[in-house]
Subunit: 247 residues, 2 copies
DNA sequence: CGACACGTTGAGATATATCAAACGTGGTGG
DNA sequence: CCACCACGTTTGATATATCTCAACGTGTCG
């Protein structure tokens, strides 16, 4: 039922799952049926798939997409991005059928946890059920924030907002050192996230750079002035429900 | 603990909660501590509030908003709209603190269910926990659809899409007769939903009318050609996870 | 070296926002 | 009963953010 211990034991417990109670975390680790390595730009699951496991992202970046309807030319939209320490599709546990595609952006390492095992876990303790439920609700809060961004913010502020969010989330996942953060995304990814054209993404990034706010290049974001970047975006990380600093 | 039976017994079980198992529904009804009537345009709860109950919408329309950050002029965005038979803030159960405002659009009637009671319910049965969890996940799926709409769809298609969604959801709540559906929203509400200006909303619904697709007026949407309306929006209601027709 | 993927820049097109005014329409009070 | 007002809607004119198209760089890799 559980995989090779040498794999399992060195999971760093960080990011989102660090919020889970220790005992629950142990249960999840021992319930893991497989650790899988994904190449960059590969599909994990597609709209309509019925899942019988959920995946925890150990390493790399993954994303969820809504495809344009049959209709025509409309491009897809990225509706979520996952960083290490987050469940990618925990919502598949109560939902089963997926309403979106899941792909890796970079090479990624994921731990698969069978739904049967998760069901046993939540049957054991309703506190554990609430803790897992809560993780999916944070995802929903992020959806709402993205909704605000795409419907109300200008290109420049949108991009600043997204960079602030990634800075915050990756820092929490232990992937940011100081004001530099690994952001291994193409400009076309940023376009799918913000709803802008790739051309405009390029110009917006230049404006951020020339404004001395941050430099996005070669898969990294170098933040020169976090204060002003946040102010430009009107950024408040409350919606991420991160534990207080120095937890 | 439970309220006057004459109030409770005549709750029609319809819309979203119709998907819940009968026994769970009975538990929820008897756990209800209060039925409250809200005037139109009143605030139920605000960003940061810590909830100790969740509200089920019995009648009327309610909405959730994200406010623009301190920053300045940015208007708020509507991130969700609730129709009868849906929980308004079930996510408050695992989350406690809200990340958004909740207001009534019309006069509304809501049933308050204390979190303490809901916690007892989910402790009793993990299937019930999953059923409630699932309702909040449908909300998240709708968030994702709205995200697609605001980031990828044109004004005309956006409006068509929203009308299709409301038609589907209100029909399921038993509030649509034929191709006419009560949509008691101002054009400024439609603007907050779609991210358009109120002026453009006015022009867009004129175009829909002149195109023979639907007439939005006086708080109703008269759908003249559902086929073409759906085609214009590229609409597929799969994300609502409604039970198959003739359930 | 050539091919390809990604990024940048410029020019022009367009969807939508903004501003301002006018138009119902239903209530209210004189 | 009429005058008036508040509110929501409609229309026109203009501004602008962003898109689209097309060309050109630039690095990487076989």
């Amino acid at each position: 039922m559980s995989v090779d211990m040498s794999d399992v034991l060195d999971w760093r417990r960080r990011g989102m799952v660090a919020q889970l109670p220790a005992a629950l975390w142990d249960e999840i680790r021992s319930a893991c049926s497989e650790v899988r390595h994904l190449p960059p730009r590969s599909t994990l699951s597609e709209t309509g798939d019925r899942m019988n496991y959920s995946a925890l992202l150990l390493d790399g970046i993954m994303a969820r997409y809504l495809r344009g309807s049959s209709n025509g030319t409309a491009r897809r939209a990225m509706v979520s991005i996952q960083v290490p320490g987050e469940f990618i599709d925990l919502h598949g546990l109560p939902m089963k059928a997926l309403d979106h595609d899941v792909e890796s952006l970079t090479a990624a390492e994921i731990a698969l946890v069978p739904h049967a095992a998760l069901e046993r876990i939540i049957a054991r303790s309703s506190d554990w059920a609430l803790a897992l439920w809560r993780l999916t609700m944070i995802d929903a809060a992020i959806h709402r924030h993205w909704l605000y961004r795409t419907s109300r913010m200008r290109a420049l502020a949108s991009m600043a907002d997204f960079i602030c969010e990634m800075h915050e989330r990756l820092r929490h996942a232990g992937e940011a050192d100081g004001h530099s953060v690994a952001l291994p995304l193409l400009q076309s990814d940023l376009a799918e996230i913000t709803g802008l054209s790739t051309v405009h993404v390029s110009r917006v990034i230049r404006d951020l750079r020339e404004g001395g706010l941050c430099t996005v290049r070669d898969g990294r974001a170098e933040i020169h002035d976090l204060e002003r970047l946040r102010h430009l975006a009107g950024y408040d990380p409350g919606y991420l429900y991160l534990p207080a600093e120095g937890d």
